[in-house]
Symmetry: C2
Subunit: 448 residues, 2 copies
Amino acid sequence: MKRIVVVGGGAAGASAASRAKRLDPSSEVVLIEKSDMITHAPCGIPFYIEKLVEDRNDLITYTAEQFEKERGIKVYLNTEVVDIDIDKRSIEVIKRGSRDKITWDRLILAIGAEPSIPPVPGTDLDGVLTVHHPAESEYLRKKIENMRTIAVIGGGYIGIELAEALHQIGKRVLLFELMDQLLPISLDKDMASIVAEYMKSKGIELHLSEGLREIVGRRSVEKIATDKGEYVVDGVILATGVKPNNLLAKKIGLKTGVVGAVEVNEYMETSIQDIYAAGDLVEKYHKILKKKVWIPLAPTANKEGLVAGANAAKGRFLRFPGVVGTAVTKFFDLYIARTGVSEKEASENNIKVESKIIKVRTKAHYYPGGAEANIKILVEADSGKVIGAQAVGRDPVVASYIDIMAVIIERRMSIEELFFSDLGYMPATAPVWHPLVVAARVMSKGFL
Amino acid sequence: MKRIVVVGGGAAGASAASRAKRLDPSSEVVLIEKSDMITHAPCGIPFYIEKLVEDRNDLITYTAEQFEKERGIKVYLNTEVVDIDIDKRSIEVIKRGSRDKITWDRLILAIGAEPSIPPVPGTDLDGVLTVHHPAESEYLRKKIENMRTIAVIGGGYIGIELAEALHQIGKRVLLFELMDQLLPISLDKDMASIVAEYMKSKGIELHLSEGLREIVGRRSVEKIATDKGEYVVDGVILATGVKPNNLLAKKIGLKTGVVGAVEVNEYMETSIQDIYAAGDLVEKYHKILKKKVWIPLAPTANKEGLVAGANAAKGRFLRFPGVVGTAVTKFFDLYIARTGVSEKEASENNIKVESKIIKVRTKAHYYPGGAEANIKILVEADSGKVIGAQAVGRDPVVASYIDIMAVIIERRMSIEELFFSDLGYMPATAPVWHPLVVAARVMSKGFL
């Protein structure tokens, strides 16, 4: 009987294990998870902090019991993989202090990413927190409870979602971002400035272009020092990005690429036979940039896990074709989404682009409840193809604009093809000239 | 100087006039409109009746003055075109009783559609209303004011939107539909039944498979007789569909096709040299069915108008590539959308399809405010391509699902390609497995 061992019970791992067992019910599928929960949703942590989600167990989709009983997958919780023996095809695990070995015929690594800790003094002080795993969310909530003033370090997705959450539960929030804009990896500065303005209007103390130098305190955080000043705070949340959790992979000699993420091909095969990898641990192929990137997001992890699981079970059964860089977040009621290539990415990759920001309303002008939204469209100058889009607005529909654009961009459609897309209309859902159609008109330079 | 005369100031006509003048500023552009308003939005009438929109003037985007002053387009309001002389290139108009002639070098007909009146006795009684033009909306609102019980005849878009509106302003509403389902032209019966159930739960008295036989009354409506019974009502709204307003077109010998809509090519040229037509008056090419259809909707009208205007000004400058059948409506907070080919249309066109209805939630399971939605996906059995989608759910995002599907379908994408689309995720906007990705999995028969 074939044994498929999956390491990591998050999005990619749970998806891989389920798919492998489903496609090859005769195989033994083992899922190994370091924490006490599987199918956990780290994206939900800010909402748990905000108390929009009451119970941390709501942040999981399935329990280990369900996986065992309903899916026939053996789950080891609280179990850490400390070594992998390639020749003997076995892994060494530690479970509550005791060591054990498990052999495998196919191994799927889905051990994700971990917070990047900035190399400054004081990050080990009490009151310095990271947001990483739902298993820690209860601890996180408790720690935050007694803090009044909190410095959030980093203005990426996690940083801005936490800033909202902390503000909503009554904390004074200072947000520090080293770059001169929020969401520096996702948005261009012009679009990010809309988010920054809104953040300030909500009473968050936003400090752009300001780098953390030190966290100061005897045992617990008392203040922070940046390259511009000192701030008395009760706690610090480090939201300074993530990195692939690649120690184990490196130890066994798996090839790694972009920022140390594990190299995989479209079958999610690593450089070592019969070892697959999926999720935040691995590189992704960017369909528009036509190169490997590292964009660690849950939907990709789920699909990669599914592909890895399918192929571990059935051989080269399914391919993961890659991503186009879609991502969504929100700050209060301001929805923020992007796909394709930003102006910054275009410039880094020597792609000449033309772009504009278009202001639209999300509903017919006479229909109550519409909001203003800003849409930025990027067109490749040489080909005339749409290659990027960003949207910011106080209506969740902007996330959908970006979903539409993700397909438009992936299909390499032109501005004219976008314009003539048969997008729907009714006064309560869109203006009669759909915002994306308007954007296409504006980008057409008078042609449309 | 070239004179471009546009007949009809609605979506298509206003769009055509604007585009023509913009592309050829040296030409004289004349816009002729029968009512006292241009750029009017008939789709907004139900919301005006519902009093979500207070002023009927909110239903227009531009005034005639704005068109004249800002765009340099001559506008004749309250002016009806009664004849067209092809040889002399002139039209005969009546304005407040007096006749006049206007010559043209290019003529664009955009006179839209008109309500289909069922051939039963009593449709001329006082209290029998149709919903057609914003210019009549004030009259409509006034007439409805004193009615307590109203029969809406027809369960299409206008019928269900009006049923909501009338219910919301305190009327007792009976809705009669000849077919055995609501929205018979747009939705398959299985999806329409969700709308019917919701309608009944709102207290609308829904009568399916029931045809109007007669409207009875001395001077004004007293009751209606159907093929199943009699009902005492104070008013009747005929929402029994629309037909192309093709009398003038036929009179001058323009070729017509599907249901009498004017034939046009992709340049919006009619069968007579230098006469263009656009909007609800004309046939549309259906990209998936690969044939002419008649789907009279405002976004199509706008784009066709733009194409007609561009070509009237510049020759064969722009092509209208056709539609895929996207349409959206809502009933209270239940959003209803569709695109591509329905099961019914597939069967009428001898296309073998496979389909399923998938129940999804619109947000992460733990995030507050998500709703249940039903998505129906249709796949062409021979090619494996997605060819249709319908969605019904209490979240406006279902309209966006259909926009995404409109692009997926137009690009002839397969279920696997839909599955691997890089659709965005955050708990407040979608579950981590996007509903459309889930639908693709279900349709893949175990492959994904």
